[in-house]
Every structure is written in structure tokens, then in C-alpha cells.
């Protein structure tokens, strides 16, 4: 019962957060000085045409009235019509979402892999130069944000050793059989290694740029937790029973050290998703972030609103899942 109440309370907080985001973004972009409508019309348009178009997009009403109309539509799944593309915002946004999701999940996987390997290697080789080197690399990776790592990767693997693609999502001249926008997932399911290779060659650098700072955070925290766990009695016991160091770290220490890292990964994943906005721009990757920047530059109000709300929904959902997972995984919280 108490658990149920906690979950309901958490859901209510999330709803308040999303409503807050909606209000703020709506008010902020209504202050835009440029008039998006006058940019849509040919130079010869009369004032009457402009007024009719403004009325069509509802821009002639007061801001609270506009908000209520828009929010009512959103609750029914209608996010309005994009001013530049003349398509429903929801279609545009959902069309781009898979690209961003694939990139974010690939980046998360890389971060967990790199951070995990760094932490385990550092723990296995404690007190050696390798551990010191890993610590220095971690510090560097943490000090510099994804945008700069992206630029460094563009230089290294796009220009000096041109082995990967530095722009786009897929080579357009290839035969593309996709029926969904989950290109990577679909290529894997269709057993098309050529397409998987081409997609990964486009995705690997942006994914790495997003992954490096997160990998550093994971590596640092996991290593710290491992270090604390390694001094516990049951680990010493396993050692005296004659188990080797690898077994002790992987089988005894790791399962107990991993929970704080998992919590952190969830929270940091939202930062990674936020980072896709500029990383997609940098690598001309056709995802949500790139669409968002175009929408801002073109003053496409309905589209901007839709994208920001979608990002906020994703962030809130990730945080919610992490919180609930923590409750589920931690018996002390479950009964507390």
C-alpha cells in the first residue's frame, strides 16, 4: 500500500514537472520577435492574407487562450502543424525519434562497456601504473564535454585516419529497404550485415562522443564501489577459500558494487540524450536534435514546442523508471 502511494505520488510529481515545462516553453517562444507567418507567404501577400494565416495557426488569440487550445490538443495527441514543413508535428517528431533513440542507446552501451572495462581493469591492477593511467584518462574524459570530444573524433577518424563517416546516418545511394525508422534495428532483424556496417560506420563517432564523458563517470564510481566492497569480510572469505582474483572481483565484489552505478547511469542517461542535440548537428545526423535546431532557426513554433515536450517526456520517463527500479531492486527501500 505504501509502495503504491509512493508510486502515485511520484507520477503526480512527474505530471507537475511536465506541465511546468509546457507552460515555460510556451511562454518563452511566444516572445519571439520574428513573425513566422510573414516568412511563409510570398512577397506579394496582402495584410488580409497574413491575418487569415495567423488565424489559421491560432496566432491571433491571447497567449493564455493559445496555450489552452494547444494543451487541449496535446492531451488528445494533436501537437499542431509544423509551420515550415506543413506536416503534423507528431508525425515529424516520431519520424525522427527512432534515429535519436538508436544513437542514445548505442552510446549508452558503449559508455557502460568502456566504463565497466576501465573500472574492472583498474581494480584488478590496483597500485600499478595501469591504474594510474586509467585514472588520468578518466579525469580527462570527465573534464571535457561531448561537443569537444565530437570535434576531436571528427579530426581523428574523419580526417587523419578517415575510417568512419562523419556526416549523415546512412549512405543514401545504398539500397534501403526500411519500413520503419529504426534503421539499425531493422537491418539487424533483416540480416543485412552490409547495412549494419554502413549504419555503424556513421553512428560510431557521434555515439563515442556522447559515451566518453559518461564512461568516465561510470568507470570512476564503479571503481570506487568495487574498492569499498573489496575490503568487506565476505570478499576476504572468498579469497581465503582459494578463489582467484578474477573470480573475487567479477563474482563476489561486482554484484554488490553495481547498484549505485546503475542508479547513476539512469540519471546520467538523460544528460546523454540532451547531448544528442548538438552532437547530431555536428555529425549532420538526421535525428530529433538536428530537427530541433532547424526548427529554432526557422522559428517553427509548433515544432519547437512538440520537440521540447517530447524531450521532457523522455527525461521524466527515464527518471521515473530509474526511481521505480531502485525501489524494486533495493529491499530496504521496498519495505521502508
Amino acid at each position: 500500500m505504501r509502495l503504491l502511494r509512493a508510486i502515485l505520488l511520484r507520477l503526480a510529481t512527474s505530471a507537475v514537472t511536465l506541465a511546468g515545462v509546457a507552460v515555460i516553453v510556451f511562454v518563452v517562444i511566444r516572445v519571439v520577435p520574428g513573425d513566422p507567418v510573414s516568412m511563409m507567404l510570398p512577397p506579394g501577400a496582402t495584410d488580409d492574407d497574413i491575418a487569415r494565416l495567423r488565424a489559421f495557426y491560432g496566432l491571433d488569440r491571447s497567449i493564455p487562450a493559445q496555450f489552452l487550445i494547444w494543451a487541449g490538443g496535446v492531451l488528445q495527441g494533436d501537437f499542431g502543424t509544423s509551420i515550415t514543413n506543413r506536416q503534423p508535428v507528431l508525425d515529424l517528431v516520431l519520424g525522427r525519434l527512432p534515429a535519436t533513440l538508436e544513437l542514445s542507446v548505442l552510446a549508452l552501451g558503449l559508455a557502460v562497456l568502456m566504463g565497466g572495462v576501465a573500472a574492472l581493469t583498474g581494480t584488478r591492477l590496483r597500485g600499478t601504473r595501469t591504474e594510474a593511467a586509467i585514472d588520468v584518462a578518466n579525469g580527462m574524459a570527465l573534464s571535457v564535454p561531448d561537443f569537444l570530444w565530437g570535434l576531436v573524433l571528427v579530426l581523428l577518424f574523419g580526417v587523419i585516419f578517415p575510417v568512419f563517416n562523419i556526416s549523415g546516418r546512412v549512405t543514401p545511394s545504398l539500397d534501403l529497404p526500411f519500413t520503419t525508422n529504426f534503421y539499425l534495428l531493422e537491418s539487424i532483424l533483416r540480416l543485412r550485415p552490409d547495412l549494419v556496417a554502413d549504419l555503424l560506420s556513421h553512428m560510431i563517432l557521434p555515439a563515442l562522443a556522447l559515451a566518453i564523458p559518461l564512461a568516465a563517470i561510470i568507470g570512476q564510481l564503479l571503481k570506487q564501489s568495487l574498492k569499498e566492497t573489496m575490503h568487506l569480510d565476505y570478499v576476504t572469505l572468498a579469497r581465503t577459500r582459494g578463489y582467484g582474483e578474477n573470480h573475487v572481483i567479477l563474482r563476489e565484489a561486482l554484484p554488490n558494487a553495481i547498484l549505485p552505478t546503475l542508479t547513476l547511469v539512469g540519471v546520467q542517461f538523460t544528460f546523454l540524450i540532451g547531448g544528442t542535440v548538438i552532437i547530431e548537428r555536428l555529425f549532420s545526423y538526421e535525428g530529433l536534435g538536428n530537427l530541433a535546431i532547424d526548427a529554432v532557426i526557422n522559428r517553427d513554433l509548433p515544432l519547437i514546442q512538440g520537440i521540447v515536450i517530447l524531450f521532457a517526456v523522455i527525461f521524466t520517463a527515464v527518471n521515473l523508471i530509474v526511481d521505480l527500479a531502485c525501489v524494486a531492486l533495493n529491499p530496504r527501500l521496498r519495505h521502508g
Binding site: T13, V16, T17, L18, G20, V21, I24, V25, V28, I29, V31, V32, P33, G122, E131, A132, D135, V136, N138, G139, M140, L142, S143, V144, P145, F147, L148, L151, V152, V154, L155, G158, V159, I166, Q220, K223, Q224, K227, T270, I273, G274, G275, V277, I278, R281, L282, G289, A292, I293, V296, I297, R299, I304, I307, V308, F311, A312, F315, T316
Partner: protein, 288 residues
Amino acid sequence: MADAASAGGGRGRGRRAGLRLWLAGGWLLFMLAVALLAPWIAPKDPLAQDLFLGRLPPFWVEGAEPGYWLGTDSLGRDVLSRIMHGARVALLVALVAGSLTCLIGATLGLLAGYFGGWADILISRGIDIWMAFPPVLFSILLVAVIGPGLPAIILAIVVIDWTRFARVVRAEAMAQAAMDYVASARVAGRGRAGTLLAEILPNVLPTIVVLLTLEMGIAVIVEAILSFVNLSIPTDSPTWGGMIAEGRSSIHQAWWVLVFPLVALFLMVLSFSQLGEGLKDRFDPVLR
């Protein structure tokens, strides 16, 4: 927290942390001098175009023109001079936006953490809402709304990043407020505002200074990102982000247009964060 927590105790670590502070601080002071003196020490006019001197390579590559040490971009503008002038924008944004964000965020954090009640509920809710915004997109949106220019960039950074200070300072102020020395100050007759300023603030100050240093690095990056998407300041003064955007588009023809501003940006961001981490070690009595 970076490598200090893991490297264990000992004098070797202390010396290394000291070296890190000096290197980072020294580089920032050097860049500050370059930025202040740019109009006098830059070898060329950073805006002067000469299409006959476009895409000249840096001095050690064949085809370089004397006087253009780090080469020129596609419009024939001197890369070195543009980096020197770009440092002015980067550091101005770092100092002004960093300080303003710190002032507002730390004040709200102190109020929420010490007074609690409605102030805390309002501010904490605000932080939650802010955390649900994608920060880069939010800053691009704000600058697009306000219109390009330095004030817009600074305002965008303050509006978005105040939560970095508010979150941490709130938690610290709360922890301090629960301590005995605060209670005894109250018993001794200090008012609430007096206790906040005279007892709690000094104890939270080291954290604020560390956050401020880190925030300056973040501000430099945000400015670079905004000028990268061409929303920073009008073209009358060069920015590193703008140079990087140009370098990105001509990367296969002239790598130096990207490399040099990137190195400048990388070193400045790294210096701010190393300075922050180094100060954190200095201030934290447990680590020391």
C-alpha cells in the same frame, strides 16, 4: 572528485594536485593576458579578408605565407589573430555569465536550504522542471528568442545553469543548518538572516567557489556551441565556436581552420575544470 578520490593519500598526490592547479591557473592567466592585449599583439586584423590569401597553411607547411603563423581561413583571415580575439569573447562570457549564474543560483540554494518551507518547495519544484529541459536545446531556443548578442548568451547561461548551484548549495546549506554550531549561534541571539550570512555562508563558500570555476568552463562551451550553430554574436567579432563551425565545413580542404581554435577551446575548458577539481581537493579537509 576526478582522480583524487581514487589515487589514495600520500604526498605524491598532493604535489600532483598542486602542479595541476598551477598549470591550469597559469594557462588561464596567460589566456586572460592574450585576450586583454589582443588588439595590440594580434599580428593581423582578425576581420581583414583577402581572397588571394585564402586557406594558407600554417608556417611549417609548404605554401605558407610569412606573417600568417597559423594559416588563414577560406576568406583569407588570419587564424592566429582570430583565436586571440576569440579569447576575449570566451573569457568575457566565462567571467560574467559564470559570476551571475553563481550569484543567483547560490542565493536561491541558500534560501531554499536554510529557510525551508514554501521557499524550498517553490525552488525545488523549479529545479525539477528545469532538469526536464534538454539544456543545449533550451539555450539555443532562448538565444533565438532574445536575438543574437553577448547579453543574450549570458542571459541564456544564467537562466539555464542556476540549478547547478541551487541544487548543491541547497543540500549543503541544509546539512549545515542542522549542525550544532548553527543552533548555538541562534541561541546566542543571532537573527536568521544573520546566521545565514555569518555562519552558513562561510561554510558553503568553498563549494560555491569550486562550482563557479566549473561553471566558467561550461559557459565557455555553451558560447562555443551557440556560435557553432551561428546564434552567438554578429560577425563583427570572431568567436572560437564560429571558427570551429567554419573549420568543420572545410575540414577536408583546410584542417588548420578547425584544429587551432579547437585546441584553444579544449585547453581553456580543461583548465577551468582542472582548476575546479584542484580547488575541490584543496578545500576538502578529508581528502587533504
